[in-house]
């Protein structure tokens, strides 16, 4: 892909970046580079005339609270989630995920926007973001040169392995997580032979509200690496909604959830193993929630 690059741009404003993306031969977006470098070398990145480094655009940085929404800039680095006070206070699930993400060196460079736009079914932040009802914000340049933005639920953003509904002229600017009225109960599990640098054969994120009687509400159960995109187990969520968790319900929900996954056989695990692991670990997570 790099042979096709005729132009390198490192703009400082969103407007300039969007103008480049709208150009005739499009642009390959560079942020942290931790995926683009190996993917580009392996020839897995579509050829574009322009290499567009968005890392100097201040508007894409930072983590902020806007009203009741946690706004994570596209350039927020995974390492930021481990330390950021807002993330730790309002979305501790993301801090937990960051701790399991690749290696310290990769976390120091890799960006949230990159992890989301790569749309790997095994992308580490994705099940957690799905469980938190995250939205993505996409910007593009209108005909009069004004910046237009649109938002869509993260779930609707994924179109397939490595494919998203981002149009070539659009740039992902932020990921938005609406805060829950009361802190969510959350859990995260990532399978792997070691904590670091393992591409997980199964990842699970759980989030829910729990009322004074222990009943669950706004239940979200999301999986990574068991389908063409990260996915939500909607039937299991519906089963859990409004119920008090106990061992029997945890087992039933885990069985339903395993049926909702669409895992494949590949070098990392067989489909059978993935489904077994998914069922057992979902049950373990839900049992743990019931007991705490």
């Amino acid at each position: 892909m790099m042979e096709s690059v005729e132009r390198y741009l490192a703009p400082t404003t969103l407007q300039q970046a969007l103008a480049a993306l709208g150009g005739p031969r499009g642009a390959t977006v560079l942020a942290g580079g931790t995926d683009l470098m190996p993917q580009g070398r392996a020839g897995r990145v579509p050829a574009a005339g322009t290499l567009l480094n968005i890392r100097h655009i201040a508007a894409l940085e930072g983590i902020a609270l806007e009203g009741g929404t946690l706004v994570l800039g596209a350039l927020a680095r995974i390492a930021d989630f481990e330390r950021d006070a807002l993330v730790r206070a309002h979305a501790p699930l993301l801090a937990e995920v960051a701790d399991h993400f690749a290696s310290p060196q990769v976390r120091n460079a890799a960006t949230l926007g990159g992890n989301v736009c790569n749309a790997s079914p095994a992308g580490d932040t994705l099940p957690a973001l799905l469980a938190l009802d995250a939205e993505v914000e996409l910007a593009s340049l209108g005909s009069a040169g004004a910046i237009r933005t649109r938002r869509l639920p993260l779930e609707a953003f994924f179109a397939g392995p490595g494919r998203t509904r981002r149009e070539p002229h659009e740039l992902l600017t932020a990921v938005r997580v609406q805060l829950a009225p009361a802190p969510r109960v959350t859990r995260f599990f990532k399978a792997g032979t070691r904590p670091a640098l393992d591409i997980s054969p199964v990842a699970i994120a759980f989030a829910a509200q729990r009322d004074a009687q222990g009943r669950l509400g706004a239940v979200r159960l999301a999986f990574g690496a068991v389908g063409p995109t990260p996915l939500r187990a909607r039937q299991a969520e519906a089963l859990l909604e409004g119920r008090r968790l106990d061992g029997a319900l945890a087992l039933e929900a885990a069985q339903v959830a395993a049926g909702e996954a669409a895992p494949i056989d590949d070098v990392r695990a067989s489909a059978w193993y993935r489904r077994e692991l998914l069922r057992n670990m979902t049950r373990r997570i839900l049992t743990d929630v019931a007991e705490h």
């Binding site: 560079l30 580079g33 470098m37 690749a102 310290p104 460079a109 640098l197």
Partner: protein, 162 residues
């Protein structure tokens, strides 16, 4: 026709200029263009940590960093770290604890250890182990490396009482 762009950056405290292509990594820039070979090429895809350098004070894999993206940034390699008193304590600890076998992973390990000690001055063995998760040693000498990192933390704490 391949693209070539002029960049300026700071390398171990010294201003540098280089002409780099779109497909060049910071690792190739350091080793092939500039000739600083202390930073090692292990896997070339961010799995082994042998190419760990500091960029603006953060430890990253040089093989995953676009050379183009070094524009305006401050790079520190193992050669530059040798000028740093705290880092010398790390190097001495590696020697004293026999944490070097074939030595290929050592520059990356020392860079990562120095990066850890900058933010967590006195790591225990568990913290040291977590910190080097992204650094592979094929001699399987992890135990001594972990001991060296913990010992370096202790030495630094004694030298700079809080």
């Amino acid at each position: 026709m391949s693209l070539s762009t002029e960049i300026r950056f700071t390398l171990n405290g010294v201003q540098q200029r280089a002409s780099v292509g779109a497909d060049m990594s910071a690792l190739q820039l350091l080793r092939d263009a500039i000739g600083l070979t202390g930073t090692k090429y292990g896997c070339g895809e961010g799995e082994c940590g042998a190419c760990t350098i500091l960029v603006d004070g953060r430890a990253v894999n040089a093989c995953l960093l676009f050379a183009l993206d070094c524009q305006g940034r401050e790079l520190t390699t193992i050669e530059g770290l040798a000028q740093d008193a705290r880092a010398r304590v790390v190097q001495e600890a590696f020697v004293a604890h026999g944490a070097v076998q074939c030595g290929f992973c050592t520059p990356g390990m020392v860079m990562q250890a120095a990066s850890l000690l900058a933010s967590h001055p006195q790591p225990d063995a568990a913290a040291a182990r977590r910190a080097i998760e992204g650094n592979l040693c094929r001699c399987t000498g992890y135990e001594k490396i972990v001991e060296a990192i913990v010992a370096a933390g202790r030495t630094l704490a004694n030298k700079e009482p809080a």
